[in-house]
């Protein structure tokens, strides 16, 4: 395991320790401070991946998160992570990487036959083919395409790691830690402002670590280290490494992703894998730098072709020579540094191809490196297949020659990293002098500094950073003192790369978008077929749509389109960048709330007791409710629920009704207010009485129902359905604050304050009597049906007792403060034992309310009116109320509207199902014969057969008629008789008794 390409010295790696890793099962060694890419290059590994469409062999192009080629699967088992960029994956001991999108192996990929068909597989060919026969698309073509597409594989197992989110507020957020970012953070941090410095990389310093520059008398990397040390000593500065800022949102909200544990084999105990930061910043400084762009030429994707700036990063930061014999191809002066650094590292620079005329900077560098210089020339073609063997160079006069080389360093100018300036829709502006898009309008509060705004000189970047950091701090009210911008060594010459945009020689495939295999000729084809808008170009060819989001290709692609169509670059335009800046694991965006903790769980006061009883629970919104309480020997919910109903109807049962919404309403105008929100009147309700109320939406449709009790002259207690409690409260607040602010009325949600138990059944009065304290009379005379009173139970616990019944039996609802809820249910059970009490759950409750024809959620489904529900007569004519006027619309008065009736099977042994549709007897089921639908069904122990509620056209007029309940999705088709929706005690004698 020799690191054949590791330089003898230099770099920000820890040479003292060596760490092992595997790639495609082979073992290699690297050092802490390496990325997977630098370690692979150090070991002489050039072939690291296969391209998306043609499965072409690919190597490392860049040294950052813009990498289009070097994608691998990291780790294994449930932690397998597809499409990891080797250029950002930090090396750790035991790292496992596997190449992807190849079969059977990286070196021999059978899918590479796609290359043979590549003349057919041009941009957009799918749209022109695969149409015959039509059925073959889903069966044959699409599965084939899908298998070939995609890159890495998911494990298919649940992600075993955890994630965390955190919110941070600051005065100044600095994005990027190159010279501009460090300077900005220093200026702001020294002022005392709260500063967050977020850097994507694990090393701070940006290009300071990649280039051999001097700041004052220090190397640029040493200066960066000192700046970081100072920042870390400032109490209000937070330095976040491995943390790209990924999104900019309205009003200074930024999302950043901290890769907490990705540089370790697995996260430490209780540590998340990643942490999503929501940063709320008053100001921000974007110092994200600039990325170099390639120059397309034939075979420019051969492993060994690399961006010139990345070559420097590997040499200087990682102490790795990405090649031994290099050709440099540039259209600007920046490559001079690459030539010099290669030479300094002992690599041979065989040729320098300057696409421009003779430019002194490259001329001098080439001469110093003893490289032959070709100006006005180009690379015609690179060759070598799985690793670069050489290239053909043409000079400006038509001559050409071949040179052997194992590295081509390409420098086509710079693209400022302005993506984050456009997340809030601003358009970038083209700058002809810099040949680059610069930030247009900035998001409110954001400044851009350094290479990200086109200040490419190191000195300029430092100066801009200090200036922006100070300005940002000052805008937040801090005094930033003057700074001396340190002096720097000589800047390179003209680094702008104003073209040419591609090699003029067309030989072989010249890639623009490496990852999505989009070539120069694809761009030409798109233009030919009319896809000339950059957005059409993108979507037709997929240019810029891969995991790198075209960070090395977008500008190039549109520049080529501009050239081909004879338009200027600004006329041609640029595609929009979108969040995230760099791809983010979905697990991190989801955070900690997974599995059972996806949403909060609300537990009513009897929950622990119910668990002890072996209750089976059901999720109702956020609540857990006991569905039924199985007893030994009962084989399913049905038996238990039927037994519970029978017990209530013949003896007594208890149900925890605490999940109902409960609202305390007070104020001089409480009665008037309720008159306006309910269809019926409440101001006339006597103190100590409860009344059923129905609320409509303003459009006349039923919104919610419940009972409201008048506890005092100006004091009411409202109950709502469990599901709508929040919505009703919001509605009441709106009515009070917005519609009728003149009214004196106040609400307090007391849902959680009271544990409320329904005690129902012929023996319920006896149970209640055993619980209330002496002196309180619960007789029918003292507390009649719909009566309510405040009293004490069990020796002084204050309580409210309501004579309400949802089950249709003699029944009470007893409310005690929630802390006593657990003890109360135990006391009720105990007091009820002599009378045969049992607890009943939501299933039994549902059966009983259906037996009584009470509407609930399935009937109040957002489309039904009071009249549909059989409550049309409740609508007061004496007052205005929400929904009154709109209830008078034509369709609401249509006699054909389905309205609520009951159903029983003609064959009494037949089962009914909710969701069945009603079809007239003897007619074929069809849309035209669809007359309504079943909303609720239950087996009624009292009747000995199934019963149902449902909406049927002209239902109330059709009593006794037989219709079909048609349920094809469950294979049901049952004849049912239309009956009254009240199946038990229609006169209501029991509940009044």
């Amino acid at each position: 395991m020799s690191q054949s390409n590791r330089l003898a010295a230099g770099g920000l790696i820890d040479r003292a320790s060596s760490i092992g890793f595997t790639f495609d099962g082979r073992r290699y060694a690297g050092h802490p401070g390496d990325t997977l890419a630098s370690a692979l290059l150090a070991n002489g590994v050039k072939l690291v991946g296969r391209s998306f469409k043609y499965h072409r062999p690919r190597g490392v192009l860049t040294a950052g998160s813009e990498e289009p080629n070097a994608l691998v699967e990291l780790r294994s088992g449930a932690r397998r992570e597809p499409n990891a960029k080797a250029t950002v994956a930090e090396l750790y001991d035991g790292l496992e990487a596997t190449s992807q999108n190849r079969w059977p192996s990286l070196a021999f990929d059978l899918m590479a036959v796609n290359q043979l068909a590549s003349p057919v597989f041009v941009a957009g060919f799918y749209y022109k083919t695969f149409m015959w026969p039509a059925k073959f698309w889903e069966k044959l073509y699409e599965p084939m395409i899908r298998r070939a597409a995609g890159l890495g594989r998911l494990s298919g197992e649940a992600d075993p790691d955890s994630y965390e989110k955190i919110t941070a507020h600051c005065d100044v957020l600095v994005i990027g830690s190159g010279p501009a970012g460090l300077a900005a953070a220093l200026a702001a941090g020294r002022s005392g402002a709260r500063v967050i410095l977020a850097e994507e990389d694990f090393a701070l310093g940006g290009r300071l670590n990649s280039d051999r520059r001097l700041i004052g008398d220090k190397t640029s990397a040493a200066w960066a280290a000192e700046a970081v040390a100072e920042l870390e000593s400032l109490p209000e500065v937070t330095v976040l490494r491995r943390t790209p800022v990924v999104g900019v949102y309205d009003d200074g909200v930024y999302a950043a992703l901290e890769r907490v544990s990705d540089h370790m084999r697995e996260p430490g105990a209780h540590q998340p894998r990643q942490r999503l930061w929501r940063i709320v910043a008053k100001r921000s400084v974007l110092a994200a730098g600039a990325l170099e762009r390639p120059i397309p030429f034939g075979g420019n994707d051969t492993p060994g072709v690399m961006l010139a700036s990345a070559v420097r990063t590997y040499l200087n930061r990682f102490g790795v020579a990405p090649g031994k014999r290099a050709v440099v191809y540039a259209n600007n002066d920046d490559a001079a540094a690459t030539i010099a650094d290669l030479a300094a590292a002992g690599c041979e620079v065989v040729a320098v191809v300057d696409a421009r005329g003779d430019a002194p900077a490259l001329h001098a560098a080439a001469r110093a490196a003893r490289a032959s210089l070709v100006f006005g020339g180009a690379i015609a073609r690179a060759y070598g297949g799985r690793s670069l063997k050489g290239c053909e160079i043409v000079d400006g006069r038509g001559g050409g020659f071949k040179v052997a080389c194992d590295l081509i360093a390409v420098s086509g100018g710079w693209n400022p990293s302005i993506q984050l300036t456009t997340h809030l829709s601003a358009r970038p502006v083209w700058d002809d002098r810099l040949a680059a898009f610069l930030p247009g309008a900035r998001p409110v509060g954001m400044e851009v500094a350094g290479a990200a705004e086109g200040a490419y000189g190191l000195g300029d970047a430092l100066a801009a950073g200090f200036r922006a950091g100070a300005a940002a701090a000052e805008a937040c009210g801090f005094a930033a003192g003057a700074v001396d911008v340190p002096a720097t060594d000589q800047e390179p010459g003209d680094t702008h790369g104003r073209g040419p945009w591609r090699s003029p020689v067309k030989r072989g495939k010249a890639f623009v978008d490496f990852q999505n295999d989009v070539t120069v000729s694809d761009v030409e084809l798109a233009a030919r077929e009319g896809f000339k808008s950059v957005e059409h170009l993108k979507r037709y060819t997929t240019l810029g749509m891969a995991t790198d989001q075209g960070r090395t290709s977008n500008v190039l692609g549109l520049a080529l389109m501009a050239e081909i169509t004879g338009r200027s670059i600004p006329e041609t335009g640029i595609t929009a960048a979108r969040a995230p800046f760099t791809p983010v694991a979905i697990g991190a965006l989801a955070g900690a709330h997974r599995h059972k903790e996806f949403r909060p769980t609300r537990l009513p006061p009897s929950h622990f007791w119910a668990e002890e009883q072996g209750a089976v629970f059901t999720e109702t919104g956020q609540w857990m409710r006991a569905a039924y309480f199985p007893r030994p020997g009962e084989k399913d919910w049905f038996e238990s629920a039927v037994r519970e109903v029978t017990t209530v109807r013949t003896a007594v049962g208890v149900y925890d009704a605490s999940t109902l919404g409960k609202i305390d309403i007070q104020g001089a105008d409480a009665g008037v207010f309720l008159d306006r929100v309910y269809v019926n009147a409440f101001s006339s309700l006597a103190v100590g009485k409860a009344r059923y109320g129905l609320m409509l939406r303003e459009d006349g449709v039923a919104m919610d129902d419940g009972t409201t009790t008048r506890l005092g002259e100006t004091h009411y207690y409202m109950t709502t359905t469990t599901a709508n409690a929040g919505g009703v409260m919001r509605h009441l607040e709106l009515c009070k604050q917005w519609l009728w602010p003149e009214l004196d009325v106040h609400f307090s949600s007391v849902t959680d304050q009271w544990a409320q138990y329904a005690i129902a059944g012929p023996r319920s009065r006896e149970v209640v009597a055993a619980l209330v304290d002496e002196g309180f009379d619960v007789s029918n005379e003292a507390l009649p049906y719909m009566g309510a009173r405040e009293l004490t139970v069990c020796g002084g616990v204050k309580a409210r007792l309501f004579r309400l019944s949802f089950s249709g039996e003699l029944a009470y609802e007893l409310a005690v403060p929630a802390r006593y809820g657990d003890a109360m249910i135990r006391a009720i059970i105990k007091a009820g034992e002599p009378f045969g009490i049992c607890p009943y759950g939501a299933e039994a409750l549902a059966i009983m309310r259906i037996e009584k024809g009470h509407a609930a959620g399935p009937e109040l489904n957002g489309n039904t009116t009071a009249a549909d529900l059989g409550m049309g007569k409740m609508l007061s004519k004496k007052k205005d109320f929400i929904g009154r006027t709109m209830s008078g619309r034509e369709a609401f008065l249509d006699p054909e509207r389905p309205s609520l009736v009951g159903f029983r099977p003609v064959d009494r042994s037949a089962r009914l199902r909710s969701g069945a549709h009603f079809v007239p007897r003897g007619e074929t089921p069809s849309a035209a014969n669809d007359q309504g639908y079943m909303t609720s069904t239950a087996y009624s122990p009292s009747n000995g057969h199934w019963i149902g509620l449902g909406f049927l056209a002209r239902g109330p007029e059709r009593m006794g008629e037989i219709v079909r309940a048609y349920d094809p999705v469950r294979g049901g088709d049952v004849e049912v008789e239309v009956v009254s929706p009240v199946f038990v005690d229609p006169e209501g004698a029991r509940l009044r008794g």
């Binding site: 039509a134 909200v253 109702t620 399935p858 969701g915 094809p968």
Partner: protein, 419 residues
Amino acid sequence: MSTDNYSIFSVLREALRGHTGWKPAWRDAAPKAAYDVVIVGGGGHGLAAAHYLAKEFGVTNVAVVEKGWIGGGNVGRNTTIIRSNYLLPGNIPFYEHSMKLWEGLEQDLNYNAMVSQRSVINLFHSDGQRDAYARRGNAMRLHGVDADLLDVAELKRILPMLDYENARFPVKGALRQKRGGTVRHDAVAWGYARSADGRGVDIIQNCEVTGFRIEGGRILGLETSRGFIGAKKVALACAGNSSRVAAMAGMRLPIESHVLQAFVTEGVKPFIDTVCTFGAGHFYISQSDKGGLVFGGDIDGYNSYAQRGNLPTVEDVCEGGMALMPAIGRVRLLRSWGGIMDMSMDGSPIIDRTPVEGLYLNAGWCYGGFKAVPAAGHCLAHLIARDEPHPVAAAYRLDRFATGRTIDEKGMGAQPNLH
């Protein structure tokens, strides 16, 4: 020589000569002085209407004017789901008509839009939801549309990656429409444009409508950024912007503009081969042919014309995703974007005449108008050509809000952000 018909043979022929013979898929037309019909909006609906006007109704003196580039609106940014699994009688026949048109689309257009009937699966988590889905499935069957209810055992076979064991809201089954699926969204716009263009329709890009010329209650033409264009009839198909354009004709609509975000991950090998919606969270997902998981959730919930949303919705959608499919934790979100939609007051669309004679409206498609593209185009063309609504779109009237014949699938009432 040029290549007109698309087929494997024409592709092979072109391959031999470097693909130099292809013609533009549609001409980049400049506006003429006047047309019989001008359609505002080069999205799916506008382009489909132009195609059907020309092909089915013989009306070819037609222009589609688009303020940007065609397909740049919602047709180019939706999550590509097609289905006809609706509940209400006003909707089912319409969407089924659309489904049938999708089923023959490629042959009709000579363009592969990759209609993929890979099935749409709506999960339920409670008995109440199951019954509501049964009601819907039965309604579909009564209309002759395919629907079936799946139990958990069947679901586990089709969607093994769901969290069945440890979920906060356990999956209890699903409603499936096998004929539902996805379509390659951009190709729909391009395919209709190419076909309409081939039949003589002018597709005019970078031409923004800025006003209408109306005299005596009759439309005469429209003002655009490229000058006045005369028209006997004008139809609006400018999803998301309907209110603004209608306001130029003096109308107020029962519509708010809202942003819906959508998301795509990095490409991965086949993971899920159906469309799946999560009834207890705000999440739905499918996988594109390129391998990206395409997913979304609820709208952000406030009026917006900004084509982008905010972070809480992103988080909410991803939470829903992880709750349903904990295996997607390590796939990376690649890109998020937003689209502006006409959210109508009952969640259903409008295809109708307007108080201005000769001015027709196609609007209010909410987040569901992609699947409607063929039928909406066809029905709009029918309305324009015949001046009466197509029977399957007869419920989509403007006056339904006044009469109370609203079509409210979700039962949310007049609150657009809840539909």
